[in-house]
Amino acid sequence: MNRTLKIRSHDELLSYLPHALGFRRPQGMVCMPMGGGPISRIDLPATAQEKEPFLSTLTDVYLRRHPTQRIALIAYGTDGLACLEALADLSQRLVDDPHGPDVGPMLWVNGDEWFDVLEQTTGTIDPDVRARFDAEFALQGRVMPVERREDLAAAMQGDPAGVAEHLAAADERAMTMDTSARRTEVAWLGSTLEAFLQDRNYPPDPEAARVLAILHDSGARDAAMTKLTRENAKVFSEFWQDLVRRAPSEVRDAPASLLALSSYLEGDGAKARTALDQLSEHDQLADLVTVALEQTVDPKSWDTIRPPASGSAAMQQAALRPTITHDRNGPEKNGTDTPGVSGPDSSAPSR
């Protein structure tokens, strides 16, 4: 956000939050710490049984894991009673703790209308203020927020037909690679990601199929994510989200896992969770990202954690071992002719 922007009013706070959250009309409780710490959104408790998990989840974040000095609480929803009860319960729990933050403002937001619980004032979000924030973020090249959180999932659905035309051939080619050809293919994947970081050009269908065909190899995934940092994670997310949109269902899990990781590292928990929801079955990486989200781990330490040494013989062997699974329900392959797939010829089958 540009430093000319100031958050000195409820209108400005409510115009800023969609850009932080990634969606314009959140539902539930949004907590915004002042002076560091994660912004959060959580559904309001729908039943009495859900009240304690709601409160303990948020107090775990703001009293223990990411303590803060001051926090704004904003309850979004049409049910005024539920919003006001949640605000009262949460603020009480936070201020009762001897190390708890100051709480304020506390707002109930219903559409464009807001009600300040502490000041007993009401207002409507000024469209000019909202437009000013939108313009500032647009000038920075930021993607505009989607309308609702549910739209994050819709943005991960696309037409797989184009890639599907090339997938069988790409699979066949990947499965018949020997170690040398696989190493070359892994290097190609790494360079493809590096090129995308520079030019943001999405791969055409044959190359997208080629990426998807090699992603089941852990060495390929390592190569794909070697350059991943917090700073460029957003660009990685664009790449993997595009592939999730275009991937046929049988090869969608791998890019979805990688999208979950890059989304988590860019700090976008909602998108990371939505990517995980795309998986038909969790793999190890998805399980780890899930733990990171549930433990509310700040991704900033990713850049300081050194990756395991690449010289590890066992790891190298594992990375280069042919590991493509053959359980996809594709058509029977006949011969070695693989039209429609670009890239160097594969070597003789390794089995």
């Binding site: 959060s40 304690e52 775990d60 974040v61 700090g267 780890l288 790891m315």
Partner: protein, 53 residues
């Protein structure tokens, strides 16, 4: 997907190992929460923007 831990997974596992486990919660399951961790620059700008002029 294979069971061998990749370097990406091992790196993430190391990161998680440096984080203390979640506080014990009164309910058996926690609620699902979306967190936004701002990038360093964005956080700094936000901190500046909420200061009094």
């Amino acid at each position: 997907m294979q069971n061998t831990r990749s370097r990406v997974e091992a790196r993430l596992e190391r990161m998680l190992a440096t984080t203390p486990p979640a506080a014990e919660r009164m309910a058996p399951t926690s609620a699902r929460i979306d967190l936004v961790f701002l990038a360093e620059d964005d956080q700094r700008r936000l901190d500046q923007s909420i200061r009094e002029p």
